[in-house]
């Protein structure tokens, strides 16, 4: 920029009266404040009740304690490496390469749905399996599945309230035992989950469980036609199903390592096609039996890696990282999982240097 060497053209503007000056400066302040206020409004500053990703992750931290560098939920787990062999059965329903190419590499993670990375394996009767399929075209399919058939609640708000009901009381350091039953009494949508969990036992092995997407998605074919689906990974080896969990607190990873030493482990990817009336946006509801099911192919797991040094450690298994041919449904839990996982991912990737250097079992 070159400063003008001569005074600006035209006559000098008459000076402003004091009142006019104040009015004009005030006008500028109003415009700037309006823009800043609109920004603060969108940012949620005027709405402390808004459920934010931060609030979701904070409540998990309050319940579980902070374990730097670890996931804020499903904190204890193990990486698995393998691939997926497509059967071709899903091809008419989805253009996703994973269903159309014979083989897609997979990096996965078995875990316990608990926030404490040192929780005993029998602490919860649920196991989870997260997978990342990397297609030849570079697109990815990430999915986080659980061994329960339905989610306890259908909305992120209800999930948040359920976590709040488990908050430790500042006086006793323990959660109020009346709060969770009171929550469930007020949330009849949790009945299918509660019915299931009553009979659920902590399994002795990760690989005897069936893992369910819980949320619904859409398969999209070449013409753009959408088919609502839920998926599940069902083990092809049923040998120890129902076995009672052994003594000790870290048997799941040992069992997995032992089984993989004998050879690859296989799961079948089942896609359940929704009927027109099935609830697509509510993960707390079961779909009635008798739905058409596709065997989309076989997941082959070849080896494990420790979660603190394996490839799965730095993967955010965001269920909305999807390839062309698979789309998220309008289930509100999906967007909330995506937003919450992103917040948790930033927290733990900021703490990588604080992770214990030895094996996970070695408490810091």
């Amino acid at each position: 920029m070159v400063d003008r060497s001569s005074p600006p053209g035209g006559p000098q503007r008459p000076p402003l009266s004091a009142a006019s000056l104040v009015l004009r400066l005030g006008g500028i302040a109003v415009v700037v404040a309006a823009v800043a206020g609109a920004f603060a409004y969108v940012h949620g500053n005027f709405d402390p009740q808004r459920l934010t990703p931060k609030a979701l992750v904070d409540v998990l931290e309050k319940n579980n304690g902070v374990h730097p560098g670890f996931r804020r939920n499903h904190a204890k787990g193990v990486c698995v490496i393998g691939h997926f062999e497509s059967s071709g059965e899903a091809r008419p329903y989805s253009v996703a390469q994973v269903f159309n190419e014979p083989r897609t590499p997979v990096v996965g993670r078995f875990a316990l749905p608990a926030g404490n990375p040192y929780a005993p394996d029998s602490a919860v009767p649920i196991r989870s399996l997260a997978l990342r399929f990397t297609q030849a075209n570079g697109q990815q399919w990430r999915t986080g599945m659980n061994s329960m058939p339905v989610f306890p609640v259908g909305t992120p708000e209800a999930f948040y309230q359920l976590q709040q009901a488990q908050l430790p009381d500042p006086a006793t350091g323990k959660p109020d035992p009346a709060k969770v039953p009171a929550f469930f009494a007020a949330h009849p949508e949790a009945v299918p989950f509660l019915t299931w969990v009553k009979t659920a036992k902590p399994s002795a092995s990760y690989v005897t469980e069936t893992y369910n997407s819980v949320n619904a998605f859409y398969l999209v074919d070449a013409s753009g036609k959408k088919q609502a689906v839920r998926w599940s990974m069902a083990p092809l080896a049923q040998d120890a199903a129902g076995a009672v969990a052994p003594e000790g607190s870290d048997f799941l990873e040992k069992d997995l390592v032992r089984r993989l030493a004998e050879g690859p482990l296989r799961f079948q990817l089942n896609l359940t096609l929704a009927n027109a009336d099935d609830p697509v946006n509510d993960a707390s509801k079961v779909w009635p039996a008798g739905r058409k099911m596709l065997n989309a192919g076989t997941l082959v797991l070849e080896k494990t890696q420790p979660q603190l040094s394996g490839e799965c450690r730095d993967i955010n298994y965001d269920p909305l990282v999807l390839p062309a041919g698979i789309e998220g449904s309008d289930d509100p839990l999906l967007a909330a999982r995506s937003a919450g996982y992103a917040d948790s991912y930033l927290r733990r990737t900021s703490e990588v240097s604080q992770l214990p250097t030895g094996k996970q079992e070695a408490r810091p």
């Binding site: 920029m1 070159v2 400063d3 003008r4 060497s5 001569s6 005074p7 600006p8 053209g9 035209g10 503007r13 402003l16 000056l21 004009r24 400066l25 006008g27 500028i28 415009v31 700037v32 823009v35 800043a36 609109a38 920004f39 969108v42 940012h43 949620g44 808004r50 459920l51 934010t52 990703p53 931060k54 979701l56 075209n137 570079g138 697109q139 990815q140 992120p156 450690r313 730095d314 993967i315 955010n316 965001d318 909305l320 990282v321 062309a324 789309e327 998220g328 309008d330 509100p332 999906l334 967007a335 909330a336 995506s338 937003a339 991912y345 930033l346 990737t349 900021s350 990588v352 240097s353």
Partner: protein, 181 residues
Amino acid sequence: MRTPPTHFNPLARLLHWLMALMIIAMLFIGAGMVTSVSARHEWLINLHKPLGIAILLLVIVRILVRLGTRQPPLPADLPGWQVMAAKASHLLLYALMLVLPLLGWAMISAAGDPVMLGRSLQLPSILPADAQVFALLRKAHGYLAYLLFLTVLLHLAAALFHGWVRRDEVLDSMLRGRSRD
């Protein structure tokens, strides 16, 4: 030496107002996105990425236009500190317009996520996956976006100060093609 122009070149003005709209939209999208867990989060993030790349492409054009055209000079009677503030804030605006989309692209790359601009449009990764690099870039992206918003507010206040209080040609030189007199 030719007489300095009194107004910005039409292409420079078009880029200024187009990008002003896009950047303000982008800042609001970002602010809503990181504080929401509803379907809005997903909807906004799917807007944020392609809009960011569009801004990156436009700012490159804009820097070339800026270097290739002449700008109207600041008023000769502008106090020295205001001249300095004007120059520094413009430099900062250009730097942030360029750096923020690059940081966004780089942080998605460092997370090991596919850089998707739509359902099937994919950009290459510009960094190898690295969790610690991701965390650094993600924080820088956030903090620098707040800085950009503050700089935009300052820019807006200064423009109105020129137009309403000083009543010089500065605001007019970006609003229209020809001087009023």
